[in-house]
C-alpha cells in the first residue's frame, strides 16, 4: 500500500484492458465495453458482442494469449434491463437453478420458483439470460426454461 496505490493499480488494470482490447481489435473482433479481470492466468471477460460467433472468436483469441490458462465468458448480446421483460419459469415441477455464470458448469447461487416470474436483465452470448427473481436474486439461467409471461 501507499498514498495512492489504488491509482497506480487502476492504471495497470486499464493498461491491461487496453492491451486486451487492442489484441481483439487486431483479430477483427468487436467487443464494446470490454472488461477483463485477470487472476493467476484466469481471465473473466465481460462486454457487448453482436452474436455467438463473435463471442467464440473473442474467447479463442484471448485464450491464445501467453499466460492465459482459462477464460470465463460473460459476454452479452443485449442489455434488456430497460425493457422490463417478464418471463414465466416453465420447469416441469422443480425450481429453476440460478447460476453464477451462463452455463451448467457455474455454481448455483439461488432458485426461481416453478411458475414464478423473473425479469430479463441481459441476453448472453449463448442461450442464457441474466435474470432477477421477484425475491431479488440475480444470476444466470437457461432460456429454454423461460416463457413470455
Amino acid at each position: 500500500m501507499g498514498l495512492f496505490d489504488e491509482v497506480n493499480k487502476a492504471v495497470v488494470n486499464q493498461q491491461e484492458q487496453n492491451n486486451f482490447s487492442a489484441t481483439l481489435q487486431k483479430a477483427g473482433v468487436a467487443v464494446s465495453d470490454l472488461k477483463v479481470q485477470q487472476n493467476a492466468g484466469k481471465l473473466t471477460v465481460a462486454g457487448k458482442i453482436s452474436d455467438a460467433a463473435t463471442a467464440e472468436k473473442a474467447i479463442a483469441t484471448l485464450k491464445s494469449q501467453a499466460g492465459v490458462t482459462e477464460v470465463v465468458n460473460l459476454l452479452e448480446i443485449e442489455d434488456l434491463s430497460a425493457k422490463n421483460i417478464k418471463m414465466k419459469v416453465v420447469t416441469k415441477e422443480s425450481n429453476l437453478n440460478i447460476r453464477k455464470g451462463p452455463g451448467t458448469n457455474f455454481e448455483i447461487v439461488g432458485k426461481a420458483a416453478h411458475n414464478s416470474t423473473v425479469q430479463l436483465i441481459k441476453r448472453m452470448y449463448n442461450d442464457w439470460y441474466y435474470i432477477r427473481t421477484d425475491a431479488g436474486v440475480e444470476g444466470f439461467c437457461a432460456a429454454n426454461f423461460l416463457q413470455q409471461a
Binding site: M1, L3, F4, E6, V11, Q14
Partner: protein
C-alpha cells in the same frame, strides 16, 4: 572583533534560515489534504477516476505518520522527507511496503505528488 561578530551573526542567520526552511516543509505537509485531481499516465474512465476522488484525504502529522482514506484507498504508516525535501518516502503499516513520491509542489494550500508517472493533486482542508 567587529568583523568576527559580524561573521558570527551572518553564520547564525544562515543557520537559522536553513533550520527554518527544513521545518517549514514538514510543517506545510503536516495537515489534512483533500484529493482534488488525479492525472494518470494511461487515461482512466471518468467513473473510475470519480470513485477514487470520492472523499479521499491524506493526513500527515508532525510526528511522521500518515493516514489515507476514501476512494484513493485506506492506508496508514510512517513518512520521511529527503534532505532536499523533493521526495516523500512512506512505509505502510500493512505489509510494510515502501513507496517514494516526488513532491512536485508543496505549499500551505497545495500538495502535488508524483509516483509511477501518476500525479495526485491535493488542497489543504481548512
Amino acid at each position: 572583533m567587529k568583523k568576527v561578530k559580524s561573521l558570527l551573526l551572518t553564520f547564525s542567520l544562515v543557520t537559522a534560515l536553513f533550520v527554518s526552511c527544513g521545518k517549514n516543509a514538514k510543517d506545510e505537509l503536516s495537515r489534512t489534504w483533500k484529493v482534488t485531481e488525479i492525472e494518470t499516465s494511461t487515461k482512466l474512465p471518468d467513473t473510475v477516476k470519480d470513485a477514487m476522488l470520492a472523499n479521499s484525504t491524506m493526513v500527515f502529522t508532525k510526528d511522521g505518520n500518515y493516514t489515507t482514506t476514501g476512494g484513493i484507498g485506506a492506508d496508514q504508516g510512517t513518512y520521511t522527507l529527503d534532505k532536499d525535501e523533493k521526495q516523500l518516502s512512506t512505509v505502510s503499516t500493512s505489509g510494510k511496503s515502501n513507496s517514494v513520491y516526488t513532491i512536485d509542489k508543496l505549499s500551505k494550500e497545495e500538495l502535488v505528488l508524483i509516483n509511477n508517472g501518476n500525479t495526485v493533486t491535493c488542497i489543504a482542508v481548512k
